[in-house]
């Protein structure tokens, strides 16, 4: 798995040198999935409340259902090579989250799985993440500045490019979600509200920031 902690950030974890990289990856991916599912479950009501303000009010429940479905198969997913595991997670999210979030979050993981190498360094991860953001933008026919998850993904990608640390990246993600509050929604259900979408945080931006924080903190905390 990946580490963010130091200059060798995003090197593969130490398991590689001891010859049981597969075991390490399995252990860490399972932990990552559990942490992500825990975060989404803990914030499900908050996400639903955000979505009720300007969407159709099902984002929290939908995301929770999807991530619980991924958690249920965490062991099987972790046993796969990283790129296959990411694709399996993406497919599961597409099939279980529903709404428009399913294809969007699913596409993020499917595209990551397509682009990532078996033992990604920071450069490969950053490049793969960039491609995955392009895939999400294409799927949603959207771009940065339209009050969507892209408004968090893009600053996180920039932060990765700039060599920011894990805590910095988590903070940038939170601030980016916060920055969707004054934006006017131009995509999705919220766009029907026009100016009335201004003043509310985008639920997808918030869930994306929560996941980014969880992932970088979990990676950072790994041995």
């Amino acid at each position: 798995m990946l580490q963010l902690s130091n200059e060798r950030s995003f090197d593969t974890a130490g398991g590689m040198e001891t010859g049981n990289a597969g075991d390490m990856a399995a252990l860490n991916l399972a932990r990552l999935i559990a942490a992500a599912a825990d975060t989404i479950a803990a914030h499900a009501e908050e996400l639903t409340a955000l979505d009720q303000a300007i969407g159709d009010g099902d984002h929290g429940l939908n995301m929770k259902r999807g991530f619980e479905a991924v958690r249920a198969e965490a062991e099987a997913f972790s046993a796969k090579p990283l790129h296959d595991a990411l694709k399996a997670i993406g497919t599961k999210l597409v099939m279980t989250v529903g709404g428009a979030s399913g294809p969007l979050f699913g596409t993020l993981f499917l595209a990551l799985g397509k682009e990532i190498s078996a033992a990604p360094d920071r450069a490969n991860l950053t490049a793969a993440f960039g491609k995955a953001i392009e895939a999400v933008a294409a799927r949603g026919k959207s771009q940065v500045g339209q009050k969507t998850m892209l408004d968090v993904l893009q600053p996180v990608h920039d932060a990765l490019l700039q060599g920011k640390t894990a805590p910095e990246i988590a903070g940038i993600a939170d601030a980016a979600a916060e920055a969707t509050v004054p934006m006017k929604a131009l995509r999705g259900r919220a766009s029907f509200l026009g100016d009335r979408s201004i003043g509310h945080m985008d639920a997808g931006a918030r869930s994306t920031a929560l996941l980014v924080r969880t992932i970088v903190e979990t990676l950072e905390g790994q041995p």
Partner: protein, 129 residues
């Protein structure tokens, strides 16, 4: 059947089924037809798995045209096409058209043996811009 198939995808199963009823009544049985609607959990929404099932049901070697209602239906339909994968994905078009009028017009075109491209173009003509 060698005519292009029509798939109707709405957030509401009632809208999808009603649209399909109109197609059957106005166009007849010469066109493979399937519909889906709802989020799979009893609520409004669309569902990739159900869309893939509907595409299978209406499958024709001439291709399938999908008519959708609101944004999520389009996103989910495009996702379903991608997950169905090649080579079949090349024979599926998600139409940019109003769902009821689009479905009836597309099915009318399809019933006369038109190609997938012609069927989709007929539906697209109903859409402003």
């Amino acid at each position: 059947m060698s005519n292009v198939g029509i798939v109707i995808v709405s957030h509401s199963p009632l809208v999808a089924e009603g649209t399909a009823d109109m197609v059957r009544q106005m166009v007849g049985d010469e066109v493979p037809l399937a519909w889906c609607g709802g989020n799979g959990h009893g609520g409004l929404g669309t569902n990739v798995e159900a869309i893939m099932g509907a595409i299978d049901k209406a499958w024709s070697e001439a291709g399938v045209a999908i008519l959708v209602d609101l944004g999520g239906a389009e996103t989910n339909s495009e996702m379903a096409v991608e997950m169905i994968g090649e080579p079949r994905s090349h024979k599926i078009i998600v139409c940019n058209a109003p769902i009821v009028e689009g479905a009836v017009m597309a099915a009318t075109e399809a019933s006369g043996g038109a190609s997938l491209r012609e069927v989709a173009a007929t539906a697209h003509e109903l859409s402003p811009s």
